[in-house]
């Protein structure tokens, strides 16, 4: 059956390639950007297609991040993979380990002779997607980092200074109590992404290791270490605050229930991706929004360090013609140009990927006109990244994120203490990493 498939596919691809050879080289891009972001992405691609005649890029929306990645992997197995696929940050470990399936970006740029300066990218962004030899493996596209949003009107009502975002968790607690006692809002704060914000970024922000071997950057055979005393204290606090109503849980994964709690002014503060900024502004019709960095515990030495990113990068898949790869390289060159990057960054709230795009925004006066839009950039650049705050890279991390959610739910519904919950995150997470090692080692 397989050979029949292969022959059929070969014939099909031959047909396709000859038919487009007369016109343009076709480059396919599978992405996970729906809604407004998807429209913007298509606009960017259209501008590229109009700018030259040699290549034609076709973007296809494939659903959520997980669905897009799954679709690309399934397509690879059936030998019908796209040239470019957008993969979220937690899929990095899986992609990196698939040596025969991916075409590393640094290699692609070298092979096609495309001008490319890895040093022009923001280190906190590119560090996440670089191997231990300093080679860039995928093309950063949309990276964000969690920040704190707060309701200035509620702060005023509660007698707090609306221009002062809370700096520490002690502040968050004190402000929340004041807000609740004064009746300005029903709850102090909520958060999206328990795993990303309240564990991974929390650890990096306090300069604590998430795992061994530099958070997994050094070897796929690594172990999680998120059950330290500081993380334990934080989760125990979250449980305590949930019980007293100070904190309101927004659900697993991205935390779908969190944004409405902030928009409806039920909760005064809200932690989520900097890319949520557009959504926050669109929905916060009746109040003014303030922006701040993530809180930290004042008594932890080394905090605040720098936050880590989330979002997605573009991976190039093996198995296509050299011509197509030239098109991919040319398109990447266009994508990382300061104009395109600055436009995308300012539209979406994602980080500017390159220093040049950031400088361009400054020149245009964008940050002065849009207060809060540079909080995320300042936060990832607060200090040079340490081995604890470069990012994380573990196999099977998509499932480990689920484990974190499940154990957090166990904590909140009282079936486990903070220590027990974090210990099982580590234990179950390590088992999943070992599975990955067995499948890929």
């Amino acid at each position: 059956m397989k050979t029949v498939n292969r022959v059929g596919l070969a014939a099909l691809s031959l047909m396709l390639s000859t038919s487009v050879a007369f016109a343009q080289t076709e480059v396919t891009w599978w992405h996970a950007m729906g809604g407004e972001l998807g429209k913007k992405l298509e606009e960017i691609v259209e501008k590229y297609n109009a700018s030259q005649t040699t290549y034609h890029v076709t973007p296809t929306y494939k659903g959520s991040y997980a669905e897009t990645m799954t679709a690309a992997i399934a397509a690879f197995r059936a030998k019908e993979q796209p040239d470019i696929v957008q993969v979220f940050e937690v899929g990095t470990g899986t992609m990196m380990a698939a040596k025969g399936a991916i075409y590393p970006v640094y290699q692609l740029m070298k092979d096609t002779g495309t001008a490319f300066d890895p040093k022009g990218f923001l280190p906190a962004v590119v560090g996440y997607y670089t191997d231990t030899d300093g080679n860039m493996l995928s093309m950063p596209f949309n990276s964000s980092t969690p920040i704190l949003y707060y309701n200035k009107d509620v702060f005023k009502k509660a007698g707090l200074d609306p221009e002062m975002a809370p700096k520490t968790w002690e502040d968050v607690e004190a402000y929340s109590q004041k807000i609740m006692e004064s009746g300005a809002a029903k709850c102090g704060f909520t958060t999206g992404w328990i795993s990303w914000v309240q564990l991974e970024n929390f650890s990096a922000w306090h300069n604590l290791p998430i795992g061994t071997n530099e958070n997994g950057f050094g070897s796929i055979d690594s172990k999680l270490t998120v059950n330290g005393p500081v993380q334990e204290k934080h989760w125990a606090n979250l449980k305590k605050w949930q019980d007293s109503g100070l904190f309101s849980y927004g659900g697993p994964g991205g935390g779908n229930d969190a944004p409405p709690k902030f928009y409806s002014q039920e909760c005064a503060m809200y932690m989520n991706s900097s890319a949520s900024r557009a959504g926050v502004i669109a929905n916060a019709k009746d109040f003014e929004v303030g922006y701040g960095m993530l809180p930290y515990y004042g008594d932890v030495a080394g905090a605040p360090q720098n936050s880590i990113i989330g979002g997605a990068t573009l991976w190039v898949l093996q198995g296509h013609e050299a011509d197509e790869y030239k098109g991919v390289a040319d398109f990447f060159h266009y994508l990382s140009s300061p104009e395109v990057q600055a436009d995308w960054h300012q539209f979406s709230g994602y980080l500017p990927i390159t220093q040049a795009a950031y400088d361009l925004g400054k020149e245009q006066g964008y940050y002065a006109k849009n207060p809060g839009s540079d909080v995320a950039i300042m936060q990832i650049n607060l200090n040079p990244p340490t081995p604890n705050s470069k990012g994380l890279r573990f196999g099977n991390y998509v499932q480990i994120r689920d484990v974190i959610d499940e154990e957090f739910q166990n904590l909140l519904n009282g079936s486990k203490t903070a220590k027990q919950a974090l210990d099982s995150v580590v234990e179950r997470g390590n088992a999943l990493i070992q599975d990955f090692v067995a499948n890929n080692g």
Partner: protein, 294 residues
């Protein structure tokens, strides 16, 4: 027992007539099932670049995995609850409609309606109704002093998925029960009534035994439904949470295979699931069918 038999004059014709169905079964069942069985003995990375034959290791792993054992337990509770609720409620509704003289048709139409709703749509609807933040039901329950939160409370989550999964199945069961009740000769019930048997006595000694073929059929269908077809309901409401409290076997197969890319384990799980269903159906036919009166 009577048997019907048709004798074909030609040998080839019967096979030819069976061919379309056999082809469909082979392509859509035997082939994928065979692939799953084969995959369950392999260990593979996500992209299929490295494949190792590991024998029964995948099976050993899943049976030593607490989350799989939990999923087995959850599935048992879930499928029994869904079957009992959907058959029980449907029977009560069918009996109520059966007693009606004029409006039975109208009620039947209304009660069958939910069956036309796609499971995913039903799931989203229940998700809205029960949403702890924006749902109407938690709001009402809070008024009564109960803090409904299925994103944290395991019992709440189970109640939610059982209700959502049963709701549309009730329509299906109802339809069969109505038909079954109409097939029971009223002379039997009337004779019993004349002999002085009350409504409950008549139900247990006449109606229920005569309905047993229908009930048996629905039992098989509903258990299979609860095990397989409830995937969209789980996907749209709880996604198996909180803490895997509603992570039924079929959802776990999807999660580990399609989201987690662990094809070996996922295939082993689906083979186990297949064996469970075959075994259950066989048990039902061997043991329960004997008690059924046709």
């Amino acid at each position: 027992m009577q048997t019907k038999r048709t004798i074909f004059s030609q040998r080839v014709l019967p096979y030819f007539l069976l061919l379309p169905q056999l082809t469909i079964t082979a392509v859509f069942f035997l082939w994928p099932a065979g692939q799953a069985a084969w995959q369950s003995f392999l260990r593979e990375d996500a992209f299929g670049l490295k494949t190792t034959f590991v024998g029964l290791a995948n099976y050993q792993r899943i049976f030593g995995d607490p989350s799989y054992l939990n999923s087995l337990g959850v599935t048992a509770v879930f499928s029994v609850s869904v079957t009992v609720v959907s058959i029980g409620v449907a029977l009560i509704l069918a009996l109520a409609v059966d007693r009606m003289v004029r409006t039975a048709q109208v009620y039947t139409t209304f009660l069958v309606w939910p069956y036309a709703v796609a499971p995913a749509v039903a799931g989203v609807m229940w998700w809205f109704i029960f949403n702890p933040t924006i749902g109407i039901l938690p709001y009402l329950l809070r008024g009564l002093g109960y803090d409904w939160n299925h994103s944290l409370n395991k019992t709440d989550a189970m109640i939610l998925v059982v209700l959502a999964a049963s709701w549309k199945q009730i329509s299906y069961n109802f339809l069969f029960f109505v038909a079954g009740l109409q097939a029971i000769p009223s002379s039997l019930k009337e004779a019993a009534a004349i002999d002085g048997a009350g409504p409950l006595k008549r139900f247990w000694t006449i109606v229920f035994p005569l309905l047993s073929p229908t009930t048996f059929f629905l039992l098989v269908v509903n258990i299979v439904y609860a095990l397989f077809d409830t995937f969209p309901v789980i996907h749209a409401t709880t996604s198996g949470g909180p803490s895997q409290a509603t992570n039924i076997l079929v959802f776990k197969v999807y999660n580990d295979g399609f989201i987690g890319q662990n094809f070996g384990s996922s295939s082993a799980q689906s083979v186990v699931l297949m064996i469970v269903v075959i075994a259950l159906t066989m048990v039902q036919f061997r043991w329960i069918e004997r008690k059924v009166q046709y």
